[in-house]
């Protein structure tokens, strides 16, 4: 019978409207009483302290090795008196000169599997407002290679009007040192195999970066473009062996274009290939050296360069901050809980006082 049910729903609706207008809607009215707040304090305290301890444990299980190579000595440039020159001075005099330097390091405890190689820069403000804006995402998607947005200025076009590929200050200042790792053994040194793919965010590779149509060379996809001002090779020479990692899809470029938030940062450079013999379970104890093709000048702004070898954990890299913060907050919570319990017992108003009101009770004592 439809008539009674529509009647019923009309009645219900007008009852609801009545309640709505008279502000008598059904509602939950919570009050902060001691029997909800104090258990909450104790619960949070008891939860956070072990959680912080667990986070600290995870952070401590990450192994890390840092090596600053800003002032490493060249192996083929010497001063007048026979001492080796610093590579940083070599490239200051002649930026096009190839300076190779080596830094030894020892691994004291073996690193567990999935070791990653990073380069770290200090005092490099990738978060400067004009720097962050200086890119053209349309060009990086391969859509337009003849005009670029004004954000790229002054690194948009060269003096003859040809467009830089890729344009902008971020791309122009791309990190171009080459890092290689060698292990020192009795029979000589062997180079470690490093993987150059799988270092950029998958979403970036798929969605934000794409090559323009055509073959990746000077007469195909990039025929209207010229290489950026500070680069020594063209964008289609970044990885000629692997067409999936060349041009705008080169993972080193993608990693660099994701500008860092803080002046001291690290970016993933390579992954250690654990299919090498002897490295199946990680990086074993031994003597190694880092060989650098030193090209990137950081001296003019007082910057530093380092190499970092690190494993990861459930939470990412080595960071004690969260663990310590959780333990601190948990302890403060417990302390507050105890203090408030004492205050409640000694000074809290009991239910008799709370309910003992009449029209003459003042608003607040």
């Amino acid at each position: 019978m439809s008539a009674p049910t529509s009647e019923q729903s009309k009645v219900k609706h007008s009852k609801f409207k009545q309640k709505f207008k008279q502000q008598r809607l059904p509602a939950w009215q919570p009050i902060l009483t001691a029997d909800t707040v104090l258990p909450a304090f104790f619960l949070i305290g008891l939860l956070f302290v072990p959680l912080g301890a667990a986070l600290l444990f995870f952070s401590r299980s990450v192994q890390e090795l840092q090596l600053d190579y800003t002032e490493c000595l060249s192996i083929n440039h010497t001063l007048a008196n026979g001492d080796a020159r610093l590579c940083r001075d070599v490239i200051k005099d002649n930026p096009a000169e190839l300076c190779i330097c080596r830094e030894n390091f020892t691994v004291h405890e073996s690193f567990e599997k999935n070791v990653y190689l990073y380069y770290g820069l200090d005092n490099f403000y990738q978060n400067h407002r004009r720097y962050v804006k200086s890119r053209d995402d349309k060009q990086l998607l391969g859509r337009d290679d003849t005009t670029v947005s004004n954000d790229c200025n002054p690194f948009a076009t060269d003096s003859e009007g040809r467009v830089y590929a890729p344009c902008g200050a971020i791309a122009n200042s791309m990190f171009n040192d080459t890092l290689r790792l060698f292990e020192v053994q009795e029979s000589g040194s062997t180079e470690l195999n490093l993987l150059k793919t799988g270092i950029a965010w998958p979403s970036d590779r798929k969605i934000k970066f794409n090559n323009p149509p055509g073959p990746l060379n000077a007469s195909g996809a990039f025929k209207n473009n010229v290489k950026p001002l500070y680069w020594t090779k063209n964008v289609y020479d970044l990885d000629p062996d692997d067409p999936n990692n060349n041009g705008y899809k080169n993972e080193d470029l993608i990693v660099w274009m994701r500008s860092a938030a803080f002046p001291t940062f690290r970016k993933l450079y390579r992954r250690i290939d654990h299919n090498m013999t002897g490295f199946k379970f990680g990086l074993h104890i031994g003597t190694y050296y880092l060989e650098v093709e030193y090209r990137y000048p950081v001296d003019s702004f007082g910057g530093k360069k380092r190499m970092i070898l690190s494993t990861t954990s459930f939470l990412g890299g080595k960071n004690n901050f969260l663990g310590i913060a959780y333990i601190t907050v948990g302890c403060i919570c417990l302390l507050l809980g105890i203090i408030f319990l004492i205050i409640h017992i000694k000074f809290g108003k009991r239910a008799v006082d709370q309910l003992n009101i009449n029209q003459n009770t003042p608003y607040s004592d």
Binding site: Q23, R24, L25, P26, A27, Q29, P30, I31, T33, V37, F41, I44, F48, L51, L55, N114, N127, W201, S203, D204, K208, V255, R258, S259, A260, A261, F262, F265, R266, L268, T312, F314, L315, G316, G317, K318, N319, F321, L322, A325, Y326, V329, C333, F340, I343, H344, G348, K349, A351, V352, Q354, L355, N356, I357, N358, Q359, N360, T361, Y363, S364
Partner: protein
């Protein structure tokens, strides 16, 4: 884009619902206890001191909102070693935690939760995520993939839990202290309302337990002695529900018959202006 839509889309609806539906005591009690209106007369809830206190609270909140994720994401990596310290990730994390914290703050401020409050508050959070997705994936914004990646790592959840607790606990502690040690009249009336509601529901429970015969006899108070196979009024009489009025008016003849059943009329009058202690 975040700054433009923050005020419009993410935070306006809960405040609107708060403004329309919020009540600390119901309409009946507002009239009984006129001293509830004292803070309005004294301008106690919005003056220069409160504004200054609000501004300082905002400043401290912003500092915590920046420095806790800063410490957590300082050399952040994801589980596959990729760097998570980029400017877009950091910005997305801080913005998301901000929206959550602001919503939690309004949860603390809401004391009368109607359905609309629930819809606007939880809806704001869901709408934030939906709008982020829509703007980046559908309209092609440049933060595409950032929030999804950040929220796919456990670090984000630990950081946001820590930030929320650090920001909410002092507020909760402060309010609890004042309600416990020096409750205002508004708090006391709210306690009383809750207490009365509890008592009323207890009474209804008690009423529900009464026997069917008593209920039947309430419906029809004609004499039923002729129906010998019924229980009769034994239980009704012995339960004391039929009572002579304590001070019968002159001229009122009570013949003991059930039709002169007068319940205790004084029980339901409004509270008299004389001071009285309420039974606890």
């Amino acid at each position: 884009m975040f700054i433009s839509v923050y005020n419009l889309f993410y935070t306006s609806m809960p405040v609107l619902a708060l403004g329309i539906f919020e009540q600390d005591v119901n309409a009946k009690n507002s009239i009984i206890y006129p001293k509830l209106y004292t803070p309005g007369l004294k301008n106690a809830l919005f003056n220069k001191r409160e504004f200054f206190r609000s501004a300082v609270h905002g400043f401290v909140t912003s500092c915590v909102l920046f420095f806790i994720p800063f410490g957590a994401y300082y050399n952040g990596m994801d589980q596959e070693g990729r760097s998570m310290t980029d400017q877009q990730t950091f910005g997305s994390v801080v913005a998301t935690i901000l929206v959550i914290v602001v919503t939690m703050q309004i949860c603390l401020d809401t004391s009368y939760w109607t359905l609309f409050n629930h819809i606007t508050i939880w809806g704001s959070l869901i709408f934030y995520l939906l709008l982020q997705y829509f703007y980046n994936y559908v309209l092609g914004g440049d933060y595409v993939g950032t929030l999804a990646k950040a929220m796919g790592e456990p670090m984000f959840y630990f950081t946001s839990l820590l930030t929320i607790v650090i920001l909410m606990l002092p507020v909760m502690a402060w309010r609890f202290y004042w309600v416990d040690v020096a409750p205002t009249l508004s708090d006391k009336v709210r306690f009383k309302q809750r207490h009365d509601a509890k008592m009323a529901s207890k009474r209804i429970e008690h009423d529900m337990l009464r026997t069917p015969s008593a209920r039947r006899s309430r419906r029809s108070i004609r004499s039923g002695y002729a129906f010998a196979h019924q229980e009769g009024f034994g239980r009704l009489i012995t339960s004391g529900k039929i009572m002579r009025p304590r001070n019968p008016k002159p001229g009122n003849v009570s013949n003991g018959r059930a039709s002169n059943f007068r319940p205790d009329v004084n029980k339901f009058k409004m509270a008299a202006p004389a001071p009285s202690t309420v039974e606890v």
